[in-house]
């Protein structure tokens, strides 16, 4: 009896709190207009669903006129369940990023297992995935059946040839996998098996990579890079989608920050800086590290 009374009292208090608190103004961007009874605005509210429909229209137009890009979903058996979840999440982002872009791709998902974990999760993320009006193509067949073989180019980080320029006639294939645990060159093996042309992005030419991060990019980074590349042809602009954590700049900044935050005496540190410069002759171990550094930069 006591307990029930307490619960009821708590509920009432909470209700009161809610009523008395000022209404929260939620703005997604700082210069958004606010709609509601208290606010005045000149314009009719454009809701999320209309924005989505507008983007869908653009995506559907690209299906008719645009360039195809294939996403190869045959790596499910090489992924753990958690990785499959992550892959589905990246797929959702990818779809969103694609249709928001000025000039979307015509996305094809190939080698899909209709009842596999990946598709189940994707359907949970995008409930309207299999509606007839949904602007994404899902095929269970392989891309070899859908596109002529000469046009297919498989993008994999494990090969040696670099993609010099974007070819608007080629159909690029990106492997839909999250290979945090697996180190094998699976996409390379697949491309070899199907006898396709392979290419990798010329990352080393434009960006300084930090050691310890793999050069395998997520699919939701790859497609925006390809989209921007197709739009502008400018690699620097396209490669801005790579997450900052993989790059050397962030590591340098982090090191600078740590140096600033250290509670040590600046004088002593500067003295030891001088020693670092002076000891250009490296010890045997340091020479070993230097020569092995190339192992960490080169993916092979």
């Amino acid at each position: 009896m006591q307990k029930l009374k307490m619960i009821r009292a708590r509920k009432e208090a909470r209700k009161k709190q809610l009523e008395e608190s000022p209404l929260e103004e939620f703005r997604e961007y700082p210069d958004d207009l606010l709609y509601g009874i208290q606010y005045q605005s000149l314009f009719l509210r454009i809701r999320d669903s209309s924005m989505n429909m507008f983007d869908n229209y653009r995506a559907l137009r690209s299906i008719i006129y645009g360039q195809s890009v294939v996403i190869d979903c045959s790596y499910e058996e090489h992924m753990v369940w958690r990785e499959t979840l992550n892959a589905a999440k990246q797929m959702t982002f990818l779809f969103g990023d694609n249709r928001i872009h000025k000039d979307p791709f015509n996305l094809h998902m190939c080698n899909v297992k209709p009842n596999g974990e990946f598709m189940k999760q994707l359907r949970k993320n995008i409930p309207s995935l299999e509606e007839p009006w949904f602007p994404m193509n899902i095929h269970s067949e392989s891309y070899l059946d859908l596109f002529p073989k000469e046009k297919l180019v498989y993008l994999t980080p494990h090969c040696r040839e670099e993609l010099t320029s974007f070819d608007p006639e080629a159909v690029y294939i990106v492997g839909c996998m999250v290979d945090k645990m697996n180190n094998e060159p699976l996409s390379l093996a697949k491309a070899k098996k199907d006898g396709l042309k392979m290419a990798k992005l010329p990352l080393d030419r434009y960006i300084e990579w930090a050691p310890g991060s793999k050069k395998n990019l997520n699919i939701n980074h790859m497609i925006p890079i390809l989209l921007d590349l197709r739009l502008t042809g400018d690699w620097e602009f396209a490669l801005r989608h790579i997450p900052r954590r993989k790059l050397m700049e962030t590591k340098i900044l982090a090191m600078q920050k740590r140096f600033d935050n250290t509670s040590l005496n600046r004088q002593d540190l500067f003295k030891s800086f001088k020693n670092v410069r002076r000891n250009s002759s490296l010890t045997m171990n340091e020479k070993k590290f230097k020569s092995k550094r190339s192992l960490y930069y080169d993916d092979m």
Partner: protein, 551 residues
Amino acid sequence: MKEFFKELFLRDYMSRVVLIKWCISELVERVAFFPPPLTVANLNIITRLITTPNTNSSEQVEFIKSATESSKSEPNWSNFKNNVLCKQGNLNEKNIDAVMLKTMVANKKFNAALSFANHLQLSNKELSIGAINSLLYLYYEYAKEYDLSEQDKAFILKTYTHLYEKYQVLDNATCERLLHALCAINEWRKCKKVLDDIQLTGTPTHSAYSTLIGTLFKNNKKAEAMKMIDISENNRRSLRDCAYDEWMKYIFRKYKDKKTVLKYLNELCTHISKNSTVVPRATANKLKESFESLNWNVQFTEIRKQSGQCKNCDLTLDCLRLSAEEFATLQQNVKDKLIVGSDLFLKTSPEELKKFMDLVENTGPYDIVLDALNVAYTAGKGGADERIRILTTVVNHFLQQKKKILLLGRKHMLNWKRGALVQLMKKTQYFFTENISQDDPYFITAAILSGPQTDIVSRDLLRGHRFLLRTDALRQLFQRWQWEHQWMVFPSTNRFRPIIQEPLKFTPIAQQHTNGWHLPYEAENTSLEYVNDGVPDVSSWLCITQKINNN
């Protein structure tokens, strides 16, 4: 300035990576884990100073350590606990008992720990499982040096039944502690159930197996102990010092006649040799004492790497060549496991494999197979000229001995100085793989399929490839084959004459000879300074010989 920070970051990163790599390589090779010595030069002082994280979390632990330092009589434990909780840190009411006990035991403050244990048991609160773990840990550590009281023993048994009633299956950590505590009171029968529970989630630790084996020997259960030793070795857990120690004590306890004692000590040594293990240093000392008590001569010695001679008795260690059947098993397994694996396309392609197999079958058995890329890159920073020069030197060295050579490389090598390379190719057989295929599995397969007399030339330790032969038996065979047949090429000060090192003339595992034994043991501190060239340490061996009676 930016360059400086980049350098700083790279050093910090590399030092951590190298430490981790070193740890992993040690784990893979010796299954004995030493924490890497922190005084090694590769930790740049600056990075160490800068990257030390804020150690606020151990304020509580520091307090506990300092407070129990002074060996006063029992402080008021509830006040003490409150003091600790007031400080900043990770400890809260739930984990404080466990952590306090653990810290005290780790610093060997047994009096304080026992009094705290008493306090915990007298208070009627239900002990958290962390606290129970720490108590079991305390009793195990205490029993190592002193005797447990009846009360403590009863507590351990009570906990065993209580835990299994409350939780049908116990977690890994609790099982380990329980096993150690049960061994401390000689209840080895109950340990079997606990061991099974550990195996549900993983492999038991070295300490678990060895403590159990030690307890079995203490209770004179030899057959059980031998079974447990087999299980331990099969799970890649070599024995710790406590197990060997108890084994020797058992032998001396049970057998009084010198000859029988000798027979069983020999059995112990055969076990070491059969499993190709390396005994811990403390065991080496105890073995020395045991053999000396039987009037044998035991010396710490070193083995000369070039000849395999023991510095003490000048006997050469044998080279245990692979027998025909062993070699045949290697041959059957090597192609499937090294090249094909789960998917042939990961390392190469079917056309390439077919071409390779055709070549090997047609051009027949070879005497030497060269890993051309590895040999060429002993030139290091030099250009293509240097590399071709070194290759030519090595090839000529073997041609002088009239050997049939197979050169294995990658297609991009043909873009080095073509003329010189073609000259080389005229004198040898050759196979070049695609640039995106791996060449290593090919040269290993070529050598093994070619026959038991073929040697390989490569500085590569082939540890990754050894791992791919899934079973331990195959891995041992591969290691012995490697020791017997691998030549290595090292750069030397003279650019034109690299050092070509022969394969080992002996097998560096424990060996018996007519008059005694040679056993390897683990050296104290393996420094990071030495270059790992695949051979286990030759500077820490025991030479056990029978004294020749002169009267």
